[in-house]
């Protein structure tokens, strides 16, 4: 069967303007968008640029906008899309484009790094006998495990309208990483972490658009983590009015 990929292309060495180009590709049940892109790169236009690595939805390389929403190209089956119309592929939003579907991901990783996403030196030893059950209730245990599933693909970062409107907002993935730090069972000082999570640009900057939950390919539910941190912050008297 045939499908058309309509790709938003950009080559900084040729022009400062992006342009659209269409390619016809073959597909069978099971063909994913990433392999359709390989067809184009290998057989039609070697200059097409996109990132890839694991092709199994665990490395987070190949996130792009597919028909207007961020998705992993390796996990998106062509048969789930309407092939009567062109499949529209664009680079992620909220980051500069390097070339074609490749974006400069530094703002994303800088945001994660900014919240000190590691255990402090005085953390509780991982050798100690502890279970998630004893440290948190069911909802938090569930959300904590989801927070460890984040593959940093930047889908939520791309499709967050709040980030677009307010670049000071750290974005859903960073808030999820904040959650992971506050609720880490070895974390030495959850209250200090919670205080950081409510600073300007933190969890209270979210306006509860649900895009992040919808586009997350690992079902990490970043907005749920944000709401849970907001609730905890209010209970601890740390609520901020900042939006």
């Amino acid at each position: 069967m045939k499908a058309t990929l309509r790709i938003k292309r950009f080559d900084p060495e040729k022009s400062d303007q992006p342009y659209w180009q269409e390619f016809e590709v073959g597909w069978d049940p099971g063909t994913v968008v990433l392999y359709a892109l390989h067809q184009v790169q290998e057989e039609q236009d070697g200059s097409l640029a996109y990132r890839y690595s694991c092709r199994g939805a665990i490395c987070g390389s190949c996130a792009m906008r597919v028909n207007g929403a961020a998705a992993l190209a390796c996990k998106t089956q062509v048969q789930t899309l309407d092939t009567d119309k062109p499949i529209v592929l664009e680079p992620l939003l909220n980051m500069d484009v390097i070339k074609d579907l490749v974006v400069a991901h530094q703002p994303f990783f800088a945001s994660i790094k900014g919240i000190l996403p590691y255990l402090e030196d005085k953390a509780r030893s991982g050798r100690n006998d502890f279970t998630l059950d004893e440290t948190m209730d069911h909802a938090h245990k569930d959300q904590y495990l989801r927070s460890t599933d984040c593959i940093m693909c930047q889908s939520c970062f791309s499709d967050c309208p709040k980030r677009r409107e307010n670049p000071a907002f750290e974005g859903p993935a960073t808030c999820l990483a904040m959650y992971k730090r506050v609720y880490h069972p070895q974390g030495p000082d959850p209250m200090a972490r919670l205080k950081e999570a409510v600073r300007p640009g933190g969890v209270f900057s979210c306006d509860q658009n649900t895009n992040c939950n919808r586009v997350c390919p690992k079902n990490c539910l970043p907005m749920r983590a944000i709401l849970m941190l907001q609730r905890r912050a209010k209970a601890e008297g740390l609520a901020s009015d900042e939006r």
């Binding site: 900084p12 070697g46 694991c54 199994g56 074609d100 030893s125 006998d129 004893e134």
Partner: protein
């Protein structure tokens, strides 16, 4: 291709930023070295993150690292060096505690102890895990530590050449993929941690980036490469190639043929589905080849009897993978699986301190061959190797920093000329066309079942493919993010690896671990209990000699039975 003449230097430069590379970086930094990582992808994109099942360590009261060592050596078909396996197994508990202290969310028992599951070829429940995302969780934990130390990471730099020191520091020339310029990096110590090469078979559980670059770079630089005939085939890949973890069978999954038989009964009556990978993979292929597989060439991995709750808590990711990449819900249906190439046991030859024979060049992880896996790796030992030997490489590197002098910049000029010549080639074949033909040869001639005449024919084809590869052209003439150029360079790596695998496989007239020959189906300890060592001669020829296996107390048996 632009070149940037400013040479960048550090105390320790690590090529590759998966688990072995980042473990080395963290330890070298802890020991006071100025360390930088250089990788063709961002660190969290590394293939280490795809490891599912777990990481072995004898930490239960009823276990002992000597038993882990025995199982590893037996599983290796006695080809592993016993002193290296001692290091791997003795340091395993410390590797686990190190990662646990850094915050890896290992799955725990109701009492809060680290949970351990059974894995193939082992007599205890020895495999620690973080659900079925063990590699992902370890990788992200170490990436956090790299952030904590603010280590320099040269992301999306593809190394095109490794230059041994010859009295000065070793160096690499690398393509800055984003900027489209070549640059030279030098350090008193360079650690290769570039991962495996199973992409050479095409049908592989490996990430598309696992093109064996480090092994090829080392070989081209004249370093010794060891045991390249041993590629492990994982018993259970989805038809799309993506891995279904051994943890499935560890949790109790059955392998069932089209007649409804749990056929492992015939091959390994005691260990059944949990025999070592080489034996299970061959058993599945025999079932398929003898007509007891399903139409299309596969068997079933059946988990239904485990129940929804266990599948959801212990194997959540593989359930999703089976759903998205195999189209089946393992709670309700059996999963179609077939043997799929998975792991490179061979690699850059190095000693227990991760040193190669070239001063200042170290190797660790899947690209290295210490050798702890011999002819067949046990599940759960590869993540372990990355942490144990990655850390050792980091400490070893930090201890060597500082001596010698920077190298000459001549290599940068040479490489710039070589890459320019790639661009100037008249339009020729696409690299993917040559790559696909190579994959076909490797699958059919150097896969689960090898045979002399077929392999010699395969070698002849590989040599012709190398000639064809010398004519492939770079279609993208630009500088910025030119993956077309990267594909041409990766094809060079892949064809070096394919050549090594062929040349190493043909003379080994026996069957051992993952190297199985229908024309020599038995292990031959008298003649072949030795490592294959390959080197490139100055004129570019393949030189092979052999090195004895280090045997300490465990005497090799005539066959490996489970």
């Amino acid at each position: 291709m632009k070149q940037n003449d400013e040479m960048l230097t550090h105390d320790v430069l690590i090529v590759g930023s998966g688990l072995a590379g980042m473990a080395a970086a963290v330890e070298a930094h802890n020991a006071g070295a100025d360390v930088a990582l250089l990788s063709k992808v961002h660190p969290v994109r590394s293939h280490s993150g795809a490891a599912q099942g777990g990481i072995n360590a004898a930490i239960r009261p009823d276990d002992d690292w000597h038993d882990h060592r025995f199982d590893t050596i037996k599983g290796s078909a006695y080809l592993a060096d016993q002193d290296a396996v001692t290091v791997l197994c003795r340091e395993a508990p410390d590797a686990i505690w190190w990662m646990a202290d850094l915050g890896t969310p290992f799955t725990r028992t109701a009492e809060g102890l680290l949970a351990q599951r059974p894995f193939g070829g082992q007599r205890r429940d020895r495999t620690c895990y973080a659900a079925d995302k063990t590699g992902h969780n370890l990788l992200h934990t170490l990436w956090e530590q790299v952030q904590k130390r603010d280590l320099k990471v040269y992301e999306e730099f593809f190394v095109t050449r490794l230059v041994p020191g010859n009295g000065a520091w070793p160096s690499v020339v690398a393509l800055d993929v984003v900027r489209g310029e070549l640059r030279q990096f030098a350090a008193p110590v360079i650690v290769l941690a570039t991962g495996g090469a199973s992409r050479v078979f095409g049908q592989s559980t490996n990430a598309l980036i696992n093109t064996g670059d480090g092994v090829a770079l080392a070989w081209r630089a004249g370093l010794a490469v060891e045991d390249m005939e041993f590629f492990q085939t994982h018993p259970t890949g989805l038809l799309s190639g993506i891995l279904m973890t051994e943890g499935c069978r560890g949790e109790g999954a059955y392998l069932v043929n089209a007649k409804g038989e749990r056929f492992m009964q015939r091959y390994a009556p005691e260990f059944m589905e949990l025999a070592p990978r080489d034996q299970v993979a061959r058993a599945i292929q025999i079932e398929i080849d003898e007509g007891r597989g399903f139409e299309g060439g596969y068997v079933h991995l059946d988990l239904r009897h485990l129940g929804e709750e266990k599948i959801k808590s212990r194997l959540p990711q593989v359930r999703e993978i089976a759903l998205y990449f195999g189209g089946v819900d393992m709670v309700k249906e059996p999963v179609p699986v077939r043997p799929t190439v998975h792991y490179t046991m061979g690699g850059v030859a190095c000693n227990l301190e991760c040193e190669t024979a070239s001063p200042g060049i170290l190797a660790a992880g899947e690209c290295a061959c210490v050798s702890v896996h011999g002819a067949n790796r046990l599940g759960g030992n590869s993540l372990l190797e990355t942490i144990v030997f990655g850390r050792r490489a980091g400490r070893s590197a930090a201890a060597r920093k500082g001596s010698g002098k920077p190298p000459s910049p001549a290599a940068l000029k040479d490489e710039a000329g070589r890459i320019r010549a790639l661009f100037d080639r008249p339009s020729g074949e696409r690299p993917a066309a040559v790559r696909r033909d190579m994959e076909q040869v490797m699958r059919t001639r150097f896969g689960l079942f090898k045979e002399g005449a077929a392999m010699r024919e395969g070698l002849a084809t590989i040599l012709k493919l190398r000639e064809r590869a010398a004519g492939v052209s770079v279609q993208d003439k630009g500088g910025v993010f030119n993956h077309d150029l990267v594909h041409v360079l990766q094809l060079e790596s892949l064809l070096d690896v394919a050549w090594m695998c062929a040349e190493a496989s043909i003379p080994r007239l026996e069957s051992r671990g993952c190297h199985y020959r229908t024309d020599a189906p038995h292990m031959d300890n008298e003649h072949w209990l030795k490592h294959t060592m390959m080197r490139r001669s100055k004129s570019g020829e393949m030189r092979i000699n052999y090195k004895p296996v280090t045997i300490e107390d465990i005497q090799p048996k005539a066959e490996v039975k489970y």
